[in-house]
């Protein structure tokens, strides 16, 4: 029996499983046995096998895996999709696997025995590979296979002692029991570390959770951590560890709409902030989101677009109709869609895959359209908790996030379904108004925008093939008018002005006519006066000549009468 080393500090054995080493502050207790328990299909076997495989691949620690449930071939094909080539590891001499089959009906028991055969098999594999790690999945098969439970329990106790003495770090799995952690009380033998895996189904949506039930001699996270199984294996999301101490930027990013930038202090959203776009159906939330995504790609930044409602191709087609060519950005690798039905998996898995994608793709901008669909898979509190984690994560990474939220018709407009508005730095509300003329028009308000002077005015929000436009609404005579009502009002106003203009012109023309008439009359009178003057002149001349003639005649007559 080797002497106990490192009594002062517990040495850790890293699992290499993403997130698990974070919440256990470094891994499983080295040289000890860890029990992984949980219900059927919770990922126990995968955890144990991944511990062995990652030990070989990432930490160069050979391993042994003893399975009571599946043959080596079955296990190999199960994990092949995760990129684990068990055959190769076995050929390389780093891995030894043994399938132990216990069939109760083949076994008759008579007299004393022990399980030395099991020890011999384990020992031979440990010696052969120089194993530092052992996985056993799952010892409970022994309870079903061997009739004498007293011998079995004594032998299990001996086995755990033996494993400890061999100095190997062991993971054993156990099926969840009704009132105890495991069906056969394996936790009784394992006092160092117990991990509980849970596969919970709420609203027909499954969620995997991992909890460290106990970890002697080490601090550990106590929460239930969302856990995922994806193409890279198991991963635990140590998300609740995120705090408020993220970097804050004074940089601004464009909303993709000039007038909306102008409404937000002239510059747009804060970089790394969270933006909520809420509104009833068909108010143009996705278009606003697309504008934002388009603008980000235009700046050469990467954008992750999480779509819960539409397929990427459909989004691209629809957005092309309002002037956003998103296809070009996906082609250039700047835009990546992550389109899933929200009911496909639990909130935690959504969160996990989003965070995983964000870590891989490193976007500057994340769009989630719409967040309201998530309430289909979780309660309001759960959804809010999940979104808090998304917001915290994105803020930590200085990612600007835009969430769209569908408001149910009839409800209060300034309310979001999961009550997420308090998480948001900027809230843009889109609203439909119905005019008496039977038309619905879109209005845009900036309800809040932390840390900037923003416009308190309402704008009309218009979608056309040239893009998204914001227009001033008609404000006058105590009403706010939009759409065709605005156009009609504007036309009426124009007509009135036109009429006024026409009136004035006519009056001017009338006056000018009158003036011309008067002037004409003046001309005629002047002409008459001239004629009269002429007449007068000629009349005076005649009279003079008549007087002269008369004088002359009188003189002539006198001379003729020989007047003296």
């Amino acid at each position: 029996m080797p002497p106990e080393t490192n009594i002062m500090t517990l040495e850790k054995c890293p699992t290499g499983i993403r997130g698990l080493d974070d919440i256990t502050s470094g891994g499983l207790p080295r040289g000890r046995t860890t029990l992984v328990c949980g219900g059927t299909g919770c990922g126990k076997t995968l955890l144990a096998l991944e511990f062995i495989v990652r030990g070989i691949r990432e930490f160069d620690e050979p391993g042994v895996f003893m399975s009571f449930e599946e043959t080596t071939e079955e296990l190999a094909s199960n994990v092949a999709s995760l990129g684990f080539d068990l055959e190769e590891l076995i050929h390389g001499g780093k891995l030894a696997m043994d399938y132990v089959h216990v069939e109760r009906s083949e076994i008759e028991e008579t007299g004393e025995y022990d399980l030395e055969g099991l020890f011999v098999r384990l020992d031979s594999m440990i010696v052969e590979t120089g194993a530092k790690r052992v996985g056993i999945d799952s010892l409970e098969a022994l309870f079903a296979g061997l009739p004498n439970e007293a011998i079995l329990r004594a032998e299990l106790r001996r086995l755990f002692r033996w494993l400890k003495d061999r100095g190997v770090t062991t993971v054993i799995t156990g099926e969840q029991g009704k009132n105890e952690l495991t069906r056969y009380g394996l936790e009784e033998y394992v006092s160092d570390c117990v991990i509980f895996l849970n596969h919970r189904v709420v609203n027909r949506v499954g969620t995997r959770l991992l909890r460290i039930v106990k970890y002697r001699g080490s601090s550990h996270g106590t929460n239930e951590y969302p856990t995922m199984i994806d193409e890279h294996g198991l991963s635990v999301l140590p998300i609740s560890s995120l705090g408020f101490d993220y970097p804050v930027s004074t940089e601004r990013v464009s909303t993709g709409i000039d007038r909306l930038d102008a409404m937000l202090g002239g510059k747009g959203y804060y970089s790394g902030s969270s933006v909520l776009v809420s509104g009833t159906a068909g108010t143009g939330k996705s278009s606003l989101a697309a504008a934002f995504a388009d603008a980000a790609c235009r700046r050469g930044e990467r954008c992750l677009y999480v779509a819960f409602e539409e397929a990427p191709a459909q989004i691209c087609r629809n957005m092309a109709s309002v002037g956003f060519d998103l296809d070009q950005w996906t082609g250039k690798g700047l835009l990546r869609f992550h389109a899933v039905r929200s009911t496909l998996c639990g909130l935690e898995q959504h969160l996990g895959s989003m965070i995983k994608l964000a870590r891989e793709f490193r976007p500057a901008v994340v769009v989630i359209d719409p967040v309201t669909n998530l309430s289909a898979v979780g309660s309001a509190e759960e959804t809010k908790a999940m979104l808090t984690q998304v917001v915290d994560f994105c803020k930590n990474q200085s990612i600007t996030t835009l969430f769209t939220s569908l408001t149910e018709g009839g409800g209060p407009q300034e309310q979001t379904d999961p009550g997420v508005s308090s998480l948001m730095d900027t809230w843009v509300l889109l609203r439909n108004t119905e005019t008496p003329s039977g038309e619905r028009n879109r209005l845009l308000f900036v309800l809040k925008s932390r840390g900037m002077a923003h416009s308190s005015q309402v704008r009309e929000f218009m979608l056309s093939d040239k893009g998204v436009q914001l227009t001033d609404v008609y404000i006058g005579a105590g009403t706010v008018l939009t759409g065709s009502a605005r156009l009609i009002q504007e036309a009426q106003d124009e007509a009135v002005a036109e009429a006024r203009h026409r009136d004035a012109t006519r009056r001017q023309r009338d006056l000018e006519q009158e003036k011309a008439q008067v002037q004409a009359r003046i001309g005629a009178l002047q002409h008459k006066a001239a004629l009269l003057a002429e007449d007068l002149d000629s009349l005076t001349g005649d009279e003079r000549s008549r007087l002269e003639t008369a004088t002359r005649n009188r003189a002539d007559l006198a001379s003729a009468r020989q007047v003296d």
Binding site: E106, E108, R121, L146
Partner: protein, 106 residues
């Protein structure tokens, strides 16, 4: 150290009821010795001339444990006649062993 006992009168080919037995042990412990003695006595009594016992010490040949899926020791395996039977323990209860080997009806 296989021990073979065959009758000279009947050739093996004409003995369909030929018994091939394997006893797995881990070291020559008292329990292993007891098991072998019990088995030997029983065979002589019931199968004289028609059996063969092979003793496998897993400490010497650990690799052989997987082949017959041995966990407990001692384990007696009836290789022939089929079907394969396994009896674990020191074979101290003769009645149970005979039942286990199908030499006596249950």
């Amino acid at each position: 150290m296989p021990k073979k006992t065959r009758p000279d009168t009947v050739p093996p080919s004409q003995t369909p009821e030929f018994w091939q037995l394997r006893l797995y042990v881990a070291g020559m412990t008292a329990r292993a010795v007891a098991a072998f003695d019990n088995l030997k006595r029983l065979c002589e009594e019931h199968l004289a001339g028609y059996y063969e016992i092979e003793i496998i010490d897993l400490l010497e040949n650990p690799k052989l444990a997987a082949g017959d899926q041995i966990l407990a020791v001692p384990t007696l395996v009836r290789k022939l006649p089929p079907p394969m039977k396994k009896i674990i323990g020191d074979l101290s209860n003769e009645e149970r062993v005979l039942v286990g080997l199908d030499l006596r009806p249950r």
